[in-house]
Every structure is written in C-alpha cells, then in structure tokens.
C-alpha cells in the first residue's frame, strides 16, 4: 500500500464515519431546537459530524488534486521492518487484552513481558524473567494494595486469596 492509497483510504473511512455519526446523532434524538429546553441532545454531535464530513471531504478532494504531500507520495506506507515490529507489538497487546478477560491481567502481563523481552527484544532469559516477575508484582502492590483498584483476574482469582488475606 502506498502513502497515497493510505491517504485516500483514510479520507474515505472518515467520510463514512462522519455519515454514520450523523445518522447515529439523529437516531431518536432531536438535532434541532426543542421549545422551552433549548437545543436537543443530538444538536451538538450532529453538527459536529457535519463539520467532520465537510473536512474529510476536503481531504479527499485535495487527495484527488494531489494537493497534500501525502497524496503525491507513492512510497510504501509501512515498510517491511515496521510491519514486523509494530505489527507484532499490536498483536501482543491484542492478546494481552483478550487473555486478561479469561486468565486475568497478571498472568497475561507476565506472558506479554516474557514474549516481548525474550522473543521480540532478544534479551537474556535472566533479565526477561526478573522483569516478568518484578513488574507485575510492583503493579499488584501499587494497584491492589496502595490504590485498592482490583485488576481483572478471571479464573486465576482463587490463587490470590492467600495474598488478599495477607494485605486486607
């Protein structure tokens, strides 16, 4: 994909998004004046979406006219090395969030750190394992103990019961 194609696609998606937002703002809400209570709930988001539609249309037209530097750029939007490192990072974050709902945040964080440090970063096992244990422990101490914000634990909740008894 070239930068030009990306610019074009982004403008098109923004147009679609603004149309969707206009429809959604008008959906069951008043976008005009309600007698005695002022502008309706849909008024502000609707007209904002209209502005968004206008500006994204302008971007699209300027893209057609080759008016922006991006619309003249035919180099590739993401190079191979970027796809590798950024793509893997995003995937790792995706699985981190997905796993958090099932096996809990702590186990997922450990897996994420191990993957990132050992396999993506190529650091030594010692360093990877030390950080893998230290960082989630620090997070536990800070969030659960100091701030009393429980992070999701999923099916691993029972493992934490002894620690709860210790700190609460």
């Amino acid at each position: 994909m070239t930068v030009r194609t990306a610019e074009f696609t982004a403008a098109l998606l923004l147009i679609l998004a603004s149309l969707g937002l206009m429809w959604k703002s008008a959906d069951g809400l008043s976008i005009g004046w309600i007698r005695g209570s002022g502008p309706g709930s849909g008024f502000w988001p609707f007209w904002l979406s209209v502005v968004m539609l206008l500006s994204s249309t302008a971007i699209l037209i300027r893209c057609f006219l080759h008016a922006t530097p991006e619309s003249r750029d035919t180099s590739s939007f993401v190079d191979r090395q970027t796809v590798w490192i950024v793509g893997l990072t995003v995937l790792a974050l995706f699985f981190l969030l997905l796993a958090s709902s099932f096996v809990g945040m702590y186990l997922s964080l450990m897996a994420f750190l191990l993957f990132y440090l050992r396999f993506l970063g190529g650091h030594s096992w010692t360093l990877s394992i030390i950080l893998m244990i230290f960082i989630p422990s620090f997070v536990f101490f800070f969030f659960e103990y100091l701030m009393t914000i429980p992070l999701p634990k999923g099916i691993t909740e029972p493992l934490f019961f002894p620690i709860y008894r210790l700190i609460y």
């Binding site: 809400l29 002022g38 709930s41 502000w44 502005v51 971007i59 969030l97 950080l131 914000i149």
Partner: protein, 509 residues
C-alpha cells in the same frame, strides 16, 4: 503586590509539606527520565501517570504532575545532546548546537548549559506566572457561557491558524475529539447518545484518559518503535565537579539570550496551539538573528543550546496560565492536567482562585521548587541518565505498555475502555503517519463537554439566537480573533498562489 505575596508565601509553605515535597521530587525525577527518553515527552509522562495520582489528594497530584511536566522539559535536552535525537519534540532545537558540542567532546558543557538555561527560563516564567495569573483570573470572572464558548473556539482556532498542519486534517482532528466527548449520557437531558452497536460500555462515555493514553502512550510507543527500530546509540559524557566549576564562569556568556528566550517562550506558551516546540524554535531563531556571529550557530554555539532550553521551560509554565485562570489548556500536557482536575472534582476556570486557593497557590509555589529541584537533580544525575539512554528500547517499551494498560484500567475499571484505548492508539498512530495532528483531538475531548454546555446555555439564554456570541463585546472579540485565525492560513495560501501565478505570468512574458 501584597495580594500576590501573601498567598504565594502560603503556597510555598504548602509545597514544602512532606507529602507534597516528596511528590515534587519524585515527579521531577520521573520527568527528567521521561524527558530524556527518546519518544517520551511531558505529555506522554503526564498521560500515563495521571491514573497513578488517584492515590494522593488533588493538591499533591497536581504538584506531582506539574513536576513531571517541568522535569521533562529539563530532561529533553539530555538525549538531544548525547544521542542527537530529541528526547521530546520540545527539545528539537537543542539538537542544532547541542549535538555539534557533544561531537566536539563538550557534551558535559552542553548539558550544563541546557540545565542552567532551563533554570533561567523557568525562573523568569514562574515569576511572570505569579504576577499574571491573579489579575487574569479576576478578569475572567466576568465571563458568561457565551464568552466561555467563544474562548474555546479561539483555542481551537489557534490550532488552525498557528498549528502549521493541514487545515482540513486539523479541523477533522478537533471534531473527532469533540464528538468522542459527546458519547454517553447527555449531561443536560440525561438521554444516552451515540451508543454504538448498543455496547453498554459506551454509556459511561469515553474518558479523556482513554484517548490520551491511547494516543500518547500506545500510539507514541508504536511511532517510536518504528523510528528507532528498537535501537539507539549514545555519546560518552563525563561531568564531574571540575567541569561544573569551569562552566560557572561561562554562564554570563548566555545569560542574556537565555533570559530573552525565557520571556519569548512564556508568551508563546500561553497560546494553545503554539507551546514549547515552536517557542524553542523561535527562540533559537531570535538568538541567532540577534547574535554577533550568526554563522557559529549550528556548529556548537552555547547560546544555541541555551536559547531553546530556556524557551521550552518558560513555555511549559506559560501554558499553565490559561489552564489555571481560564480553564483553557495552553498545551496538550495541560489539557491532560485539566482533565485530571475534572476527575479530582475541581471545576477549572477563574473560580478556582477563589474556591480552591490552596490548590492553585500550592501549584504555583511548587513550580518555584520544581525548578530548583530539577536543575539540581539534572546536574547531579547526568551520568545516570546517559547510562539509562543506552538501554535498548525493547526493554523500555513493554514496561511503558504495561503502565498504559493498567493505568488505562484504573479510571473506570472496565475492559471496554482498554479495548478502546488500543483502538485509539493504533488509529492515532496510523493517522499520525498521514500527518493528521493528534494534539487537537486530545484538547478537544477534554474541552468538549465544557464547550457543549456553554454553547447550549448561551443559546438557551438567547432563545436560540446565535447572535449572542457577537452581541456581547468580549465574546465578539474572541470570535473575531478566532475567525481571523481560521481565515489567516487560507488567505496566506491564496496570496502565495497568486504571487506564484504572477511570477509564472511574468516569466512567460
């Protein structure tokens, strides 16, 4: 004068309370570190760390975050000089002369210049801040909803007029932020709005931190990963007592340009779209233009390091002025601080001075100490920071990601927000690659609810007549300036196109 001095003394005493002082020192330390790391600046640090401050009372929290902001301005110079990569965009201009100095083996002198000049700029701006803030807040007390709305339009207009980005993309970014802010229950009618696909998570709205951490945490890290490919190289530095002693004699060579740059930086920093990066570039240009030997700039002139560093520190203080007095952030970082104030249950705006004087003056007092603590820590820890900079980025990146994830979970404690955050991070990163400015969106999501409320209140009081915004004199002035800022870049382009057209015609003849 007394009306300032007495509360200032109170504020200074407040900032010295054990908890506040501890938070201040930790904040400066983290700020220095965050600023020194390439890819992380004050805005990233403040966004990622804001959830952590729920632990302490608001007074201590704002002192901590302001200290991070301050420290980051000092830290930015470290990587500009030792790596030749700006540690934050605010330190871009520091590379111009800082890098040649490092290559000539004078990295220690460059780092010391940066630290002392930052201190000069910081001190000037904090004093100006103390003098300007109370009268401005008193003036702003006269503002009604119409003026508030006009002022926010003015803030957004500065992005269009002065931001320097593509106009359509800037407007798009602002509007996306404003629309995201409308998701959830309408504050006035209580009706649910924009509940996409009936996902219940949208009922509590999109917290501004979800967008801020998404863009400035995850998006920024993806961006940096792409830029550095996970690797950086640092210069060796040895800064001992000897070089400090030697440096003290040279301060007088740059104290004047640093002071002037501090003044310039402060006033540029007040503008929402301008902030520390353009301020430092302008200060660099100004110092070069005023210098006797402009040719030596870019080849390792000390003044070339001093000017941008003084200016970026001053600008960071300047950007707090409209945040505290008007409730309009002067930079993306202060936008996040403003959002934080709303979470802590404070209502930003001129009333803050009368309703929460302890909070405001504690912050002002802390700025004085933050400045001193930052300069001392900076000089003392130069060797440590240089060591940290040699760490591989693949160690830092996962740690930051973990902080983003747990920090993003803290405000609302739903997985829904984390998914949104990841989405915003990836989309923000991709849009940034296409040169969409992202800062306006963050400013807009913070100001969105306030803007909508003031718009609807104004229209209600005028019974739907939009002329209310031009009938009230102050609001009319703000609107007029906003319109000028909107039109200015278009007029400029039209003018250039015409001149270019003329030249073509002239050449044809």
């Amino acid at each position: 004068m007394e009306s300032v001095l007495i509360p200032l003394m109170g504020g200074l005493a407040d900032a010295l309370q054990p908890l506040n002082l501890t938070m201040l020192v930790i904040g400066c330390l983290i700020g220095l570190f965050v600023g020194a790391m390439p890819g992380l600046g004050s805005v990233n640090g403040v966004a990622i760390l804001l959830p952590v401050t729920f632990l302490v009372p608001p007074d201590a929290a704002i002192i901590f975050l302001a200290a991070v902001y301050y420290g980051a301005m000092y830290g930015g110079a470290v990587s500009s000089i030792t790596l030749g990569i700006p540690g934050a965009s605010t330190a871009v201009a520091t590379v111009f002369d800082g890098r040649p100095m490092a290559q000539a083996g004078k990295a220690d002198q460059a780092l010391l210049t940066a630290a002392i000049a930052s201190f000069i700029g910081g001190t000037i701006s904090v004093v100006l801040f103390t003098l300007f803030a109370p009268p401005l807040a008193a003036f702003a007390l006269k503002f009604g909803p119409a003026e508030e709305f006009a002022l926010m339009m003015l803030a957004f207009a500065t992005f269009v007029g002065l931001g320097g980005g593509d106009i359509a993309k800037t407007i798009c970014s602002i509007v996306i932020g404003l629309v995201l802010a409308t998701i959830g229950l309408d504050i006035i009618s209580g009706k649910p709005r924009l509940i996409f696909f009936d996902i219940s998570g949208f009922f509590h709205g999109v917290n501004f931190l979800v967008l801020a951490i998404g863009i400035y945490g995850i998006g920024e890290m993806l961006w940096t990963l792409e830029q550095t490919k996970g690797d950086v190289q640092a210069h060796r530095v040895s800064a001992g007592l000897q070089s400090i002693k030697e440096h003290l004699k040279r301060i007088k060579s740059y104290i004047v340009p640093a002071s002037l740059s501090g003044l310039l930086g402060y006033f540029v920093g007040i503008l929402p779209a301008a902030g520390a990066t353009p301020a430092s570039l302008m200060a660099y240009g100004m110092t070069k233009a005023l210098s006797n030997d402009p040719d030596s700039f870019g080849k390792g002139n000390m003044k070339g390091v001093a000017a941008p560093e003084a200016a970026n520190n001053a600008a960071s203080t300047g950007s707090m002025l409209p945040m505290i007095t008007l409730g309009i952030p002067g930079s993306p970082t202060t936008a996040i601080l403003l959002g934080g104030m709303i979470i802590w249950g404070l209502r930003p705006g001129p009333l803050l001075f009368t309703e929460h004087p302890d909070f405001v003056w504690g912050l002002v007092g802390s700025l004085y100490f933050a400045n001193i603590v930052s300069v001392l820590l900076n000089i003392a820890l130069i060797p440590l920071f240089v060591r940290v900079l040699t760490l591989k980025f693949t160690i830092l990146a996962p740690i930051i990601f973990v902080l983003c994830i747990v920090g993003g979970y803290a405000p609302t404690q739903t997985m829904h927000d984390l998914w949104l955050m990841l989405l915003f991070g990836v989309v923000g990163y991709l849009l940034r690659k296409l040169d969409y400015p992202v800062a306006p969106a963050v400013l807009a999501i913070v100001l969105g609810p306030l803007a909508e409320r003031s718009l609807r209140q104004s229209l209600l009081s005028s019974q739907g007549d939009p002329l209310i915004f031009v009938e009230r004199p102050l609001s009319a002035i703000f609107m007029l300036v906003a319109v000028v800022l909107f039109v200015y870049p278009l007029a400029l382009r039209w003018w250039r196109a015409r001149r270019a057209g003329d030249n073509v015609v002239a050449a044809g003849e």
